[in-house]
């Protein structure tokens, strides 16, 4: 491919080659991914063979590089654009192709049947159909809808929203992938289509607020959909708001030492650091301890940027393995997360590290369920059947 168009579009001439992007990149320490050097290549050479850079699929879009760049170059966005070149050519990893096809056909990257999207409700109360109008639209997201391990999170949240007296509804089986990961895997055309379709669906509900389970959906819906007057919230923000206004109160003690892992798409992408902590701190008996790297310094779990579907070239220890060691070092018995991808990657890492007896990975919503003594908590920790969809690689 010719480099000039991207050099101009991404304003790469602003780069001073300081290396803080690659220096801060958690994958650069493990694989050939070196975005600083790639930018230099693009600046000096008129042509580039993008397919020679399979390590571009390693990027988790954690946005550390974007945060660190002193010149406002946005290296991760260049990676997404280069992935776009590969997608355009059709030469992409098989698993990426399958995920994109799944979204196109079934509205979720696992390609599971669209009509099963409400399976997360289980034997809980059926939420109201947002299509009939509601104040608060709950956007459940693909992984929490389908993955049995994650389904406890929306199930809990739905009960909490009811208990707090909100007028909430969901899109049911009409809900579609938000496209966050689609965009980051470089499939701009499909993403544009999703933005159009979902945007229309969301606007038609007349909801004034939209809440998401996942920071990934949150990022896409808040920053990349022009939803106008619809206020987009991550559920930790909504819970913090309900607590602050007395619409929600915890009465059951949860005597646990908890450390909180900031998800990249909540933290580095959206600077939401305090609300999840406010929710945790409101739980009686819970003691919050911080990891050495927290907030904007949080280490990526390696689950974003399409990495739940793209294997990448990292042959070494997962970042999630390093992260659970950091969590264990705090002496916490719970590693709290607020992102479905973090929940899966870190839970796996705890198992791989043999830390199950010492450290349990829980979503903030699950700790909230404990603090509210909701029945849904019974399912937490129970052995779960794996998804019936295509095998996830992690």
């Amino acid at each position: 491919m010719r480099t000039q168009p991207l050099v101009e579009q991404m304003e790469l001439m602003g780069c001073i080659q300081c290396g803080r992007c690659t220096g801060g990149c958690p994958l650069a320490r493990k694989t050939a991914l070196n975005i600083r050097s790639l930018i230099y290549d693009m600046l000096v050479a008129p042509e580039m063979d993008v397919h020679a850079h399979q390590e571009l699929w390693d990027c988790t879009c954690c946005f550390t590089c974007v945060e660190r760049c002193p010149k406002d170059v946005r290296p991760a966005e260049l990676i997404i654009a280069l992935r776009g070149e590969m997608v355009e050519s059709g030469r992409i990893p098989e698993t990426v192709g399958a995920a994109l096809m799944g979204v196109f056909r079934q509205g979720n990257p696992s390609g599971i049947a669209r009509e099963d999207r409400s399976a997360w409700v289980g034997d809980g109360p059926q939420p109201k159909a947002a299509q009939e109008g509601c104040e608060l639209l709950y956007f459940v997201g693909c992984s929490p809808s389908y993955d049995p391990r994650l389904q406890t999170v929306p199930r809990t949240l739905a009960r909490v929203f009811s208990q707090a007296g909100t007028d909430f509804g969901t899109l049911g089986t009409e809900e579609n992938c938000c496209g966050s990961e689609v965009q980051r895997m470089g499939e701009a055309g499909l993403f544009e289509m999703l933005v159009e379709e979902n945007g229309e669906l969301i606007r038609r509900t007349g909801a004034s607020r939209l809440v998401t389970t996942s920071p990934h959906c949150y990022t896409a819906l808040k920053n990349e959909y022009a939803l106008g007057k619809v206020e987009v919230l991550h559920y930790t923000q909504l819970l913090a708001d309900l607590l602050a206004h007395g619409q929600l109160a915890f009465d059951r003690e949860v005597p646990r030492i908890v450390t909180y892992h900031d998800p990249c798409f909540l933290g580095k992408h959206n600077q939401i650091y305090e609300e999840p902590r406010a929710v945790l701190n409101a739980i009686p008996g819970l003691q919050l301890v911080e990891m050495d790297r927290n907030r904007e310094r949080s280490l990526c779990c390696e689950g974003g940027g399409g990495r739940m579907w793209a294997e990448g070239t990292n042959p070494e220890e997962r970042l999630s393995a390093q992260r659970v060691e950091e969590a264990a070092a705090t002496g916490a018995d719970v590693l709290a997360v607020a992102c479905p991808f973090c929940l899966l990657t870190l839970e796996d890492a705890v198992k791989v590290a043999g830390l199950e007896d010492q450290l349990r990975v829980m979503d903030v919503a699950e700790l909230v369920a404990d603090a509210l003594d909701l029945p849904v908590t019974n399912q937490i920790g129970a052995p779960l059947a794996r998804s019936t969809g295509p095998e996830r690689e992690c």
């Binding site: 290396g19 002193p70 010149k71």
Partner: protein, 573 residues
Amino acid sequence: MSLSRVGVYVCHCGTNIAANVDVARLAEFARSLPGAVLARDYPYMCSDRGQALIREDVSEQALDRVVVAACSPRMHEPTFRDAVRQAGLNPYMVEMANIREQCAWVHDDRARATEKATRLVASAVARAVLLEPLEERQVDVEPGVVVIGGGIAGLAATLTVAEAGYSAYLVERSGSLGGRVRELDRTYPTLDKVQVVLRELVSRVAAHPNVTILLRSSVTSVDGCVGDFTVEVKTRGANLGEGVDASRDSQTLVVGSVIVATGFDPFDPRRKPELGYGQYPSVITTLELEQRLAAGDLGDNGAAPRRVAFLQCVGSRDVQVGNPYCSRVCCMVVAKQARQLRGLMPDAEITVYYSDVRTFGKGAEEFYDETRAQGVLYRRASVSEIVRSQNRVRLVGEDTLLSRAIGVEVDLVVLATGMEAGADSASLSAMLRLQRSPDGFFLEAHPKLRPVDTATAGVYLAGCCQGPKGIADTIAHAKAAASSALIPLLRGSVQADAATAIVNPALCANCGLCVEECPYGAPALDPFRGVATVNALLCQGCGACAVVCPAKAISLQHATACQVLAQVDALMA
């Protein structure tokens, strides 16, 4: 109107104007304007030859008004006023059309830019024919200077003023003199003891009979204009004796010039949380290391660090923290400190992590060479993150020459923190009517030609309040500011702008609205005549009173309603 003889001069400004405006066509158009008797275009009207052209035409063609279509009047109006004055015309008979900043520089469609330039010139000529000669006032200059800020810049400026034989009032906020320099150990590139240099300067200032030092004092207001500033200074109680009336803690100084030397604030590296400053005790700033070096105690409890890292450009050249500029001193500060540590800890491994090294200035590159020769390693890697690693910290980054991610455990990290505009810059800029550049520092009148002047005549900048500087540059800048501040004092009188407000007593209803409106206290109601009067010495020509006057009794000379309306009519025609 037909009696006026206007000469129009269209400047090419090299290609600055000529590239985007058809100057020949513009001159031709100008000749057709009512009142215009000639029009010329010329490569540089501000050059000696350009000015001579105007002078010759004024004499030979009996011009009585001159229009120059060129740059902003802020740039060269004084030049052309002088030129016509030399040719025997009143200097207020010049009008400028700004066809550079407001036309050629901001438009790229040549035809439309030329069309706009014709309107601007037509407007200037329409106004020019209505201009009236005004008498410039001579203002006696008060023979003193107020210097705000007692750091090294303020001290150097104060001493220069005092040695020239004038009174200098040095106003310092804190209880002692020397400012940031008090915290420094040695200079670069000569490795002199800073405190010895400072002590000598302070004692010379303190001992000088022309100097009044006001410690624990702040300037609370500045009124008046060049030659005649009234400066209110408030002193906090500490140096007043018992039983002193609290209202006596403020005083009024009347001086001819004001020098602003308010310095900078060091960047707070907590704004880059990835570097762990404030979190890890082994991460310190260059300023902190300087204090430790000065105290002769590295704060290591005897266990000398085996591995020391310096990190360049912390809080500088970084748009993420809003500081896009280079702080200019850090590279040399680091080279100097690394050299000092080398001497103190011959066995330590000392590495400077940089992305560019900027050791400019006399003796600076040579100093950098010698620092490396003495065993300080320079590694082209800017550290992205610092993390804990047992008792040490680990630097995480990329060696950009090796294209390799690195993680290095070190005992001591020194962050080369840059400079920022002082936190009080905003309030000072409002009080002194100073402009600030986008970086937050005070803006000089011209980046090359007037580096210590400001847009407010009689107010000058010294040192880091204008932008980051090392000690040598600060002192040079301060002495330049003092020299400029002395010019009006040495002349003894200054010409004040005649473009001031005047009251037509026949129309004045003595309502007092002008008194309320004026920010400079220029108008007052005359109790005997029952009309308003304007003190021309205080009037800054802003026109607020003329606008607010319901009886239209006040008119602003050189911007009368007739002149402005003619200008607008020509623009809209």
